[in-house]
């Protein structure tokens, strides 16, 4: 199977089809919607299922091999966030606030994207390292914290600059930034760590680890067998919301649209390559790449709206949910799968260049 075929076959899975269906339903202004209580419950359920699954697997594989991937993921996430900022500010000419908000939205991770990735792998009969669920939990707040810290530092730099024209006695920008940020950051950190996504995910990992495979038995049907069906239902609502956002694409502009496609591809491929280098399995490398490629669209607004209220939320919500999410689950996921296959088994069945080879022979 070459990449195109893989994309095409991925396009025809219920998850992607129901997402596209949701978009269409929104475009034709149908009154279809999944009741709020259901669409609020589904992410909690999905994260609990992911966490339990991860915890159970971690019990068999142990944490010890988790440390390196975790640190690498954090490092990459921070690096990428800074990189995004430079691109957005310098090339995209966005203001500081929008630049940091967008940079961290794309530096953070998307739990729903992660669910879809797991389901995709399951369909392909490929497994991945369970501890990646823990990486997902840890990675979520990291990018936001960096962005909020840098935003506050930048703001105090400006204030300081003004002050300095009057007096020469001033603390370094970093000191002031640190100070002003501390209160805000500790609040944001608290809120991030106690945010429902992280709490349910970490809690379920621990519980999964404790109960193991036998303990999971009686609840397997709910937290495993129903998983894909539940994602399908959630995808309808995600599609509807993405569809309602499509009108906002004009406001987003061509630069940000390109950014929302190129950046995840770049981050994701690097993620797959790095993951392969540090020894993750074929499926694990795909999930690792997906973590880095994904943008946050559920947690981001909740965090950024209060932390950087000056930023325009429709920029980061629309690009993350309206462009990057569909692109990731429809196009990039199969691409990363192909790349990972290639890297893990260069002689293997996936032949990225089979047309050229064919042409040559």
């Amino acid at each position: 199977m070459d990449i195109l075929q893989l994309i095409q076959s991925n396009l025809l899975t219920p998850i992607v089809l129901f997402f596209l269906f949701g978009i269409i339903a929104a475009r034709i202004k149908s009154d279809l919607k999944i009741p709020q209580a259901i669409s609020e419950f589904l992410p909690i359920y999905l994260l609990a299922a992911i966490g339990l699954h991860g915890g159970i697997q971690m019990r068999t594989t142990g944490f010890e091999n988790m440390l390196v991937p975790m640190l690498v993921a954090i490092g990459l996430s921070l690096l990428f966030t800074l990189n995004h900022y430079q691109i957005l500010r310098k090339l995209g000419k966005f203001n500081i606030f929008d630049s940091y908000a967008l940079a961290s939205t794309y530096g953070a991770v998307g739990a729903v994207t992660f669910s879809v990735g797991l389901s995709f792998l399951k369909n392909q009969g490929v497994t991945s390292e369970g501890y990646l669920a823990a990486v997902l939990a840890v990675l979520e707040p990291v990018a936001f914290i960096l962005a909020i810290f840098l935003t506050n530092m930048a703001v105090s730099k400006q204030i300081n600059a003004k002050k300095q024209s009057f007096t020469n006695d001033s603390k370094s920008d970093i000191d002031v930034g640190l100070n002003e940020t501390k209160i805000k950051l500790s609040k944001i950190l608290r809120e991030s760590v106690t945010g429902k996504a992280i709490v349910i995910l970490l809690g379920s990992i621990v519980i999964g680890y404790i109960i193991g495979k036998e303990g999971f038995g009686p609840i397997k049907i709910v937290f495993d067998d129903l998983f894909t069906g539940a994602i399908v239902i959630f995808m309808i609502e995600m599609g509807i919301i993405a569809g309602q956002r499509l009108d906002d694409l004009k406001k987003v502009g061509i630069f940000l649209i390109s950014f929302s496609i190129i950046m995840p591809t770049f981050n994701g491929i690097i993620g797959v390559v790095v993951a392969t280098l540090i020894g993750l399995s074929m499926g694990g490398s795909v999930m690792f790449g997906l973590l880095l490629a994904s943008a946050s669209f559920i947690a981001a607004p909740a965090v950024l709206r209060n932390a950087i209220p000056q930023a325009n939320p429709s920029l980061y919500i629309t690009s993350a949910l309206g462009i990057t999410f569909p692109y990731n689950i429809i196009v990039l996921l199969p691409i990363m799968f192909a790349v990972s296959s290639l890297l893990h088994d260069p002689e293997g069945s996936i032949d990225l260049f089979h047309y050229s080879l064919k042409d040559l022979i």
Partner: protein, 100 residues
């Protein structure tokens, strides 16, 4: 049953600003309020679809005239610029002024 005149301050805003408003109330030593989720349309577009975070909330506070000014001032100064928000005040009568 005599009714004593007090003020009802009603704030309709995006749900993510609720926390900030409650903080302002707490700062001014106001602990009584009522909240509920609503949908809305305004300068910042339709706020009734999509993710929960994009919904609105209505916050109603019964208070004495003395406290009204400061709270209205602080809410408008700190939140009007960056959040979808609308605020209004009405005259009401209550039985037990000592509660407010």
């Amino acid at each position: 049953m005599k009714l004593y005149p007090v003020k009802l301050l009603t704030i309709t805003c995006e749900i993510l600003a609720q926390k900030n408003i409650i903080e302002i109330l707490t700062k001014h030593e106001i602990t009584g309020y009522t909240t509920y989720e609503v949908n809305g349309n305004g300068a910042r577009g339709l706020r009734s679809q999509g993710l929960t975070n994009e919904k609105n909330v209505k916050i109603e506070i019964i208070l004495r005239e003395e406290k009204l000014q400061d709270i209205v001032e602080e809410v408008s100064r700190t939140l009007f610029a960056n959040f979808a928000i609308v605020l209004y005040v009405s005259d009401i009568g209550v039985l037990r002024t000592e509660k407010f």
